[in-house]
């Protein structure tokens, strides 16, 4: 409890301290991390809790990002309109994609979600009216959220609310049902759960939250391009979830923070001896990330959140 209060205070005063010390860049960076934390958390609901290995989650982030951007570009400046529209559009996309994809299982599900996301990628790449593959630059953020500190608090609030939602959801009837389906689908159906409906509902909730993350992402950078829907983005979100902890409340957030933090460190803080050895190693930051991921998978299969859990419980590994 003490730890939680401490963390809350840190998150609340962080932007003020940074502003006072003229380090606004870090406020912006923290917002970006939290936006990815939100996106990864939404994937964790689908992948970790629901057991649906979706390899097309970037499609929903992208839908949200594009709808929010198009709203601003078309003169709808209010975030109260643009962001809900982004969430609704992403939820609708998840409903359609999920309704088709969830009729398949295993590798086919992975492939079909990937295929849908790639279709969405090529679709926005060809939207000449909104920048095509050049992307779309926004004149400003929605609702005049130009102030980095204000934007930070908005993102912090939305991430916290989403984590609270996930926490409540995981312990609700619905949460028990989707975890049971993940554990044993046949048995879940045989005790009377309409498996398809629950999975689809879970997929849509995940897609909707991803859409919100997309809206925030586009507003944060005041720019969106088709790469936000690229399959490698889906992969990156997956890596965040695996890194942080599959099916764990904080998994997505921790994974996003560690991955983006690591990328930032590798890119911005050159290590002298490594540079002599491999002059352009910083262009290949993903190699370092890959090594870390490898270590996690081998030594902490429950992710970093699982590792922290194990420590606090004195060596007992926590079951589902």
């Amino acid at each position: 409890m003490k730890k939680n209060i401490f963390l809350t205070v840190v998150f609340l005063i962080f932007p003020l301290v940074m502003q006072a010390s003229d380090n606004l860049f870090y406020v912006s960076f923290a917002s970006r991390v939290m936006i990815y934390a939100l996106a990864a958390t939404s994937l964790n609901l689908v992948l970790g809790y629901g057991g649906m290995i979706s390899f097309g989650h970037a499609a929903f982030v992208g839908t949200g990002a594009y709808v929010a951007s198009i709203c601003v570009a078309e003169g709808v400046k209010s975030a109260w309109l643009g962001w809900p529209a982004a969430v609704a559009a992403a939820a609708l996309a998840a409903l359609v994609i999920g309704a088709v994809s969830l009729r398949t299982r295993g590798v086919y599900f992975i492939m079909i979600t990937l295929a849908f996301a790639q279709m969405a990628f090529y679709l926005v790449s060809s939207m000449k009216a909104y920048g095509g593959d050049e992307g779309l630059t926004l004149p400003s953020r929605a609702s005049d959220l130009g102030n980095e500190v204000v934007f930070y608090y908005v993102v912090l609030f939305l991430l916290s609310a989403s984590l609270l939602l996930l926490h409540r959801l995981a312990n609700s009837r619905f949460g028990r049902a989707i975890v049971a389906i993940r554990e044993n689908e046949t048995r879940a159906e045989a005790v009377g759960l309409p498996v398809f409906r629950y999975q689809l509902a879970c997929f849509v909730i995940g897609g909707a939250v991803a859409g919100l993350a997309g809206a925030l992402l586009a507003n944060h950078g005041k720019y969106v391009n088709p790469n936000v829907l690229h399959w490698s983005q889906s992969g990156e979100l997956m890596i965040m979830v695996i890194l942080g902890g599959v099916g764990r409340l904080w998994g997505g957030a921790i994974g996003a923070a560690v991955l983006l933090g690591l990328e930032h460190l590798i890119a911005d803080y050159p290590i002298a001896w490594l540079e002599r050895l491999a002059p352009n190693y910083q262009d290949h930051a993903s190699l370092g990330v890959g090594l870390v991921l490898l270590a996690i998978v081998l030594f902490a299969p429950q992710g970093l959140a699982g590792l922290a859990d194990r420590k606090t419980r004195g060596g007992n590994s926590a079951a589902a």
Binding site: S172, R173, A319
Partner: protein
Amino acid sequence: MVATDGVSLEIAQGEVHALIGPNGAGKTTLIAQITGSLPPDSGSIFFVEKEITRASLHERVRIGLARSYQITSIFRRFSVLDNVALAVQARSGSSFSFWRPVADETELFKEAFTILQDVNLESSQHVLAGNLSHGDQRALEVGLALATRPRLVLLDEPMAGMGPEESRGMIALIERIRSRVTVLLVEHDMDAVFRLADRISVLVGGRLLASGRPQEIRANDEVRRAYLGDEIAA
């Protein structure tokens, strides 16, 4: 390939009806057709005067047709109590509740606990289901089926892989529940079958060879030639 061919099986309310037959007789296919995991090519299935031929598995469970599996199928990483609580939850109203913690629903766990008492697992309620002994897992399997409050429960080889002691426990369990629920029992253990069944149907080569009371089946020459052989001649 024809696995079940023109089978006409009628199960009366309140009875324990055993379905026996050699391996490959089509028992598993027939069960899959009755419970809804395999749609039949022709013919129809009625349950309490309602046609359910095309109903999905979970719809059939809703109207009171539950099953246990030959190969144990439980939620291995859930506690024993959570296993049954989930089945109770699936039956009692909608699970589209996103906010209220399940842990607050004392009724749900109370009911789950009475079912654990039925299957003699109340002392293991907090054990992870995957850590139970084989016999206890088989009992939990039956408990999951009972938790849906079925009118007909289909037990697919409940004694599979059990030692004599565990088998006795399972027979006692079925004796305890038979007054409340109709049972369709698929089983190779002839001792259990003849002890429990009110009526027995014999499936051979996808066809129903005979159907009747245990004495009639025992006395049926065709059945003896095709399946029972010397097993019960003594």
